[in-house]
Symmetry: C2
Subunit: 195 residues, 2 copies
DNA sequence: TACTGCATATATCGGTTTGATATAAGATGG
DNA sequence: CCATCTTATATCAAACCGATATATGCAGTA
């Protein structure tokens, strides 16, 4: 979902400044399936204001930089609902961790195991944090997505713990042989062996 | 992982053209955790060639456009391994589907249920396709990532099937009341209710 | 037969996103 | 007292994404 729609959604229930939107988008449950930076949010807000989908005014603050607080217009609300009714685009998922794992026959075994252990640790932290704030999530839709996210993380943790041993074993056949085999496959056009 | 590193990885086991790289990156198991378009791949290959990390020559083909086939240099192989040894960046996951679900109290219930059913159907197709090509995945590292990916999809499918009923029930409290409650929370600074 | 659409193959272009950085001042903490 | 964090907005280059252009062969079909 593009940043403009994200901003509309963030403004639906309360008026906010760009900074506040960023903060909320950075914490659960939102950060688990959408992320943005200031570099996207501020231009998006400017454009939304030009299009009349949001309205804003500068609130002067004591001892703080001025705050530009925006809220949705009726047109903005309509626009948001329109966007949500469109068939959703495909998920986009990019994971350096999985990429490294996939390429891990190039790397020292100890390094790979450390990578997996760090991943398990970071999953455990996310899970702990989610458990702590679980009772704050009361809206039905929010709760549904929260629970789904939780099951994602728990599932990955379980998989890594249960399958870590597969990466501990000695390296498979020597690399040169494997390469020769794949090269053969390639030339004989028999198997589309994955990458 | 940036596109240049991706291309190096794709060239590790066999020489390829940009088109072939794109094709392989578009199919499992690669498409499940990395994606790229031509708009990224061709510039990346040009730059890699300028940097001496890959070498290429144009193969003339009968009845087809010319093919520029690249392969890794020793410097390219070293560069790839260096990149893989760096601590991996965080996963990036963006899902329009989850975003729509999260906002689903704005949408007609039937629409949301249809969305979920379509999601289940598409998960089931992915799972079927993975099962069909499962026996082609033999490399240990590839197999590990493949199995992890499979468990992702299977987990999400199970969750959606088991929890779909939660979205069937009548809408919770009327929206205006809920809004008032949240507005109160906000002003009293007691609860950081998520978005 | 002609038409339609798909696969092969490379490439560019505009718009968007990302990540780092600039600016500025109060709050926090060692 | 100094470093670092938080609040607050903003910009910029580099990278990325999606659509489109170009050209040809091949398979299916009306």
């Amino acid at each position: 979902m593009d940043t403009r729609t994200l901003c509309l959604a963030a403004l639906l229930r309360r008026e906010s400044s760009g900074y506040e939107i960023k903060k909320r988008l950075d914490e659960p449950p939102f950060c688990h399936f959408q992320d943005t930076g200031f570099g996207s949010i501020y231009p998006a807000l400017t454009r939304l204001a030009n299009e009349g989908l949001i309205e804003g005014e500068a609130h002067q603050q004591e001892k703080r930089p001025d705050k530009k607080v925006f809220n949705l217009t009726e047109a903005g609300r309509t626009h948001l609902i329109d966007a949500l009714m469109q068939p959703p685009g495909p998920d986009r998922f990019r994971s350096d961790f999985l990429f490294c794992l996939f390429m891990s026959d190039l790397l020292p075994r100890q390094h790979v195991l450390r990578l997996v252990d760090q991943r398990i640790a970071s999953l455990e932290q996310v899970i702990r944090e989610m458990e702590e704030c679980a009772d704050k999530v009361t809206r039905r839709a929010g709760r549904f997505v929260f629970d789904l996210g939780y099951s994602f993380y728990a599932n990955e943790r379980a998989f890594l713990i249960n399958n870590r041993h597969r990466l501990e074993e000695e390296t498979e056949e020597p690399r040169t042989e494997a390469e020769e085999a794949e090269r053969h496959d390639y030339h004989s056009h028999t198997a589309g062996s994955p990458l």
